[in-house]
Amino acid sequence: MITVENLAKSFYGPKRTVVKAVDGVSFECRPGEIFGLLGANGAGKTTLLRMLSTIISPTSGRATVDGYDIVEQPAEVRQNIGFLSTTTALYQRLTAKETIQYFGRLHGLSGRNLRDRTAEVIELLGIAEYANRLCDKLSTGQKQRVGLARTILHDPPVLFFDEPTAGLDVLASQTVMEFIEERREVGKTVVFSTHIMSEAERLCDRIAVIHAGRLAAIGTLDELRSLTGKDRLEAVFLQLVQEVV
C-alpha cells in the first residue's frame, strides 16, 4: 500500500531559479494493483519515484510505503521495495548470479535463504543459461531479466518500475510486461511509470496523468475517457495535459 499526500520536490535550476519537479501530488496505490504514472519526459515521474524509494527527500508533503514513512523510516521503506528503471545498470565485471546475490546480501539475505531465493528467481526469469556469464557479455534483454531478478529477490511487497521497457526490443518488452502482470497476480503493489500509451493501456488498473510536476487526473482508463470525452488514451492524455498548461 502506498499513500502520497501533497508531495513536492523543488530543485535549484540555472541562476538559482527554483524548479518544481513535483508539485503537490497525492494518490493511493493498493496491493494487487498496477498504478500507472503517465507523463512525457521531464514530467516529474522519475523524481516522484525517487522520493518514494527514499533516494531523494521531498521538499514538502508526506508519503508512506507499505506503512513506513519515507522521511522518518527510509531504511524500512527500502527494505520493502524493489526498484527498476532504464537508467539503472548492472556491474559489468560481475556475473548475472553474482549480481543477484550481491543485491540479496544488501537486502539482508544470507546463507541458505540467499541460495534458495537466487535459485528461485533464476528459474522464474529463465536466467539459468547465462547465470554465470559476466553482465558485460549479456544482451539488453538478458540484462533486463537480471535487473528484474535483483528487484524481486528479497520478495518486496511494493515494486517501482520507472520506464522499464525503454530501449528494449518487442520481445524483451513483452517479457517485462508479462512479469509486471504476474507481480500484480501475486498481490504486489506496483507503480509503473511510462510515456508509452499502449503499455499504460495494457497494464495499468489506474492511471495518474502527470505533467510539469502536477497531477492532471487520476482514474481507470474508462474514467479518464469519460472525463475527457475521448476514446484513445493518446487523445485523453493530450487533453488532460493541455488543461494543466
Binding site: R50, S53, T54, I55, I56, S57, A75, E76, R78, Q79, I81, F83, S85, T87, T88, A89, L90, Y91, R93, L94, E98, Y102, F103, R105, L106, H107, G108, L134, R150
Partner: protein, 397 residues
C-alpha cells in the same frame, strides 16, 4: 552500519577481474621499483666504474708520469691535443672531456725547481666533463704531493713537518642504513607516490563511474545506509592503495636481496631494517594511505563523471608530488632536522620513511606525523560521508 562488508567484497571482486587494477596496483609498482632501482644503479655504477673519458694533452712527455694512475685505471683515453686546436671548440663538440695544457718550457722550469702553471680545461655544462676533470685533478694532486715530498727530501727536509695536521676520515657508528644514503634519498618519494597513485585506476570508477552507468541509483535504493556504502568503497580503495604500496616495497626488497651487480651502488649499505624502523614505516604510511584513499574518493563523489574526476586528480597530484619530491632533496639541507617538517603533510611521512631507512627515527616527528595524517584522514572520511548524504552531489550527472 550493515552492508559495508558486502560492498567492500564486491568492489574487490570487480577489481580482481580488472586487468588495469592488477597492473597498476600490483605489477606496476613492483616493476617500476625494480626498473628505477635497476636503471639508477646501472647509471651510477657506470659513472663510478665503467664510464670512459677522453683527455687531450698538449705535451704527452710531460704528462706521462702524472697520469700513470689514469693509465692503470683504463678509464681514460689520453691523446695528444691537435696542434692549433681551439680548446673551447673541442670541448663544446665533446671530442674530449678535458684538456690538459702544459706551458712550452714546463720541463725546464720544473727541473729548475720553479712552479710552472698547468691548465686543466673542462666544460662546466657537461657532467661527464666535470667528473673527468675531478679525476684528473686528483691524479695531478697526488703527483704534486709526491713531487713536493721528493724536492723537500732532496733538501734534507721532512715533508710531514710542513703539514699543520694529518687527517684521517672515519665512519661514525650511526647504525646500518637500509640500502645506503643514495636509496634513502629517493625511496620515500617512490613509496609515497605509489600510496597515492595505486588507487588512481579505480577511483574514478568507484562513484563517478557508478553515477554515469546508473548503478549508483540501484545501490542507493537498497536498505544499506549511505555511510555503509561510503565506508565499503573507501575501504576497497584503501586496500588497493595499500596493495600498491606493499608491492612497491616488495620491489625494493627484491632488488636488495638479489644483490645484483648493477645495483651494488644503490645498496651500498645492508638490506636489513630494525623492528623499530619497520614499525615507524607502517605507522607513518597507514594513516597517509587512509588520507589519500578518502580524499580521492571525495573527488570521485564530487565529480559529475569520470572525465571530471581525471581533471581533479591531475590537480591533486601536484599537491602530493611537490612535497614528495622535496623529500628527495631534504638530506642536502638542514630541513631534515627542522621541527616544522613534521607539520607538512606528505613531506613529514617522507621524512619519517627516510629516518627509518637511515635507522634514525625521531619519535617526536613520528608521533606528529601519525597524528596529523590520522586527523586529515578522519576529516577526509567525514567529507566523503557528508557528500554521500547530499542528494545534490549524487545526482550531479
Amino acid at each position: 552500519m550493515k552492508g559495508w562488508w558486502s560492498i567492500y567484497r564486491k568492489e574487490l571482486l570487480e577489481f580482481a577481474r580488472d586487468k588495469r587494477v592488477l597492473f597498476s596496483a600490483i605489477v606496476g609498482p613492483l616493476l617500476v621499483e625494480v626498473l628505477i632501482i635497476g636503471i639508477f644503479g646501472y647509471v651510477f655504477r657506470a659513472v663510478e666504474t665503467e664510464q670512459r673519458y677522453v683527455l687531450f694533452v698538449n705535451d704527452m712527455a710531460a704528462a706521462a708520469p702524472m697520469l700513470e694512475p689514469l693509465r692503470v685505471s683504463k678509464r681514460f683515453t689520453v691523446a695528444e691535443l691537435p696542434r692549433d686546436a681551439d680548446i673551447d671548440a673541442v670541448l663544446k663538440a665533446q671530442v674530449t672531456d678535458v684538456v690538459l695544457v702544459f706551458p712550452p718550457d714546463f720541463a725546464a722550469r720544473s727541473k729548475a725547481g720553479e712552479r710552472p702553471e698547468v691548465e686543466l680545461y673542462s666544460d662546466p655544462n657537461e657532467q661527464t666533463s666535470q667528473i673527468a676533470a675531478g679525476v684528473v685533478a686528483d691524479a695531478l694532486d697526488t703527483f704534486r704531493a709526491t713531487e713536493r715530498g721528493r724536492r723537500l727530501q732532496a733538501r734534507n727536509l721532512d715533508p710531514e713537518a710542513f703539514e699543520a695536521f694529518s687527517l684521517v676520515q672515519r665512519a661514525a657508528k650511526t647504525g646500518e642504513a637500509f640500502g645506503g644514503s643514495m636509496l634513502s634519498s629517493f625511496l620515500p618519494y617512490l613509496i609515497i607516490i605509489w600510496a597515492f597513485y595505486g588507487g588512481f585506476s579505480i577511483v574514478s570508477d568507484l562513484v563517478a563511474g557508478e553515477k554515469e552507468r546508473g548503478t549508483l541509483e540501484t545501490l542507493l535504493v537498497s536498505p544499506v545506509s549511505r555511510e555503509a556504502i561510503a565506508f565499503g568503497k573507501f575501504l576497497a580503495l584503501a586496500t588497493v592503495s595499500l596493495v600498491a604500496t606493499i608491492s612497491a616495497l616488495l620491489g625494493v626488497v627484491a632488488m636488495g636481496v638479489s644483490k645484483l651487480e648493477i645495483t651494488e651502488t644503490m645498496f651500498d649499505g645492508s638490506v636489513h631494517m630494525s623492528l623499530g624502523s619497520v614499525v615507524a614505516v607502517v605507522l607513518s604510511l597507514l594513516p597517509l594511505i587512509v588520507f589519500f584513499a578518502a580524499s580521492l574518493l571525495a573527488l570521485s563523489t564530487i565529480a559529475r563523471n569520470q572525465r571530471e574526476v581525471q581533471g581533479y586528480l591531475s590537480l591533486a597530484s601536484f599537491l602530493v608530488l611537490i612535497p614528495a619530491m622535496m623529500s628527495q632533496f631534504i638530506g642536502y639541507t638542514d630541513a631534515a632536522t627542522s621541527k616544522w617538517i613534521a607539520f607538512v603533510p606528505v613531506l613529514n611521512t617522507a621524512t619519517v620513511l627516510r629516518q627509518a631507512l637511515l635507522e634514525k627515527v625521531d619519535y617526536r616527528t613520528l608521533a606528529i606525523t601519525v597524528g596529523l595524517s590520522a586527523l586529515l584522514a578522519s576529516l577526509a572520511l567525514l567529507l566523503v560521508v557528508h557528500l554521500f548524504r547530499k542528494e545534490s552531489v549524487l545526482f550531479r550527472t
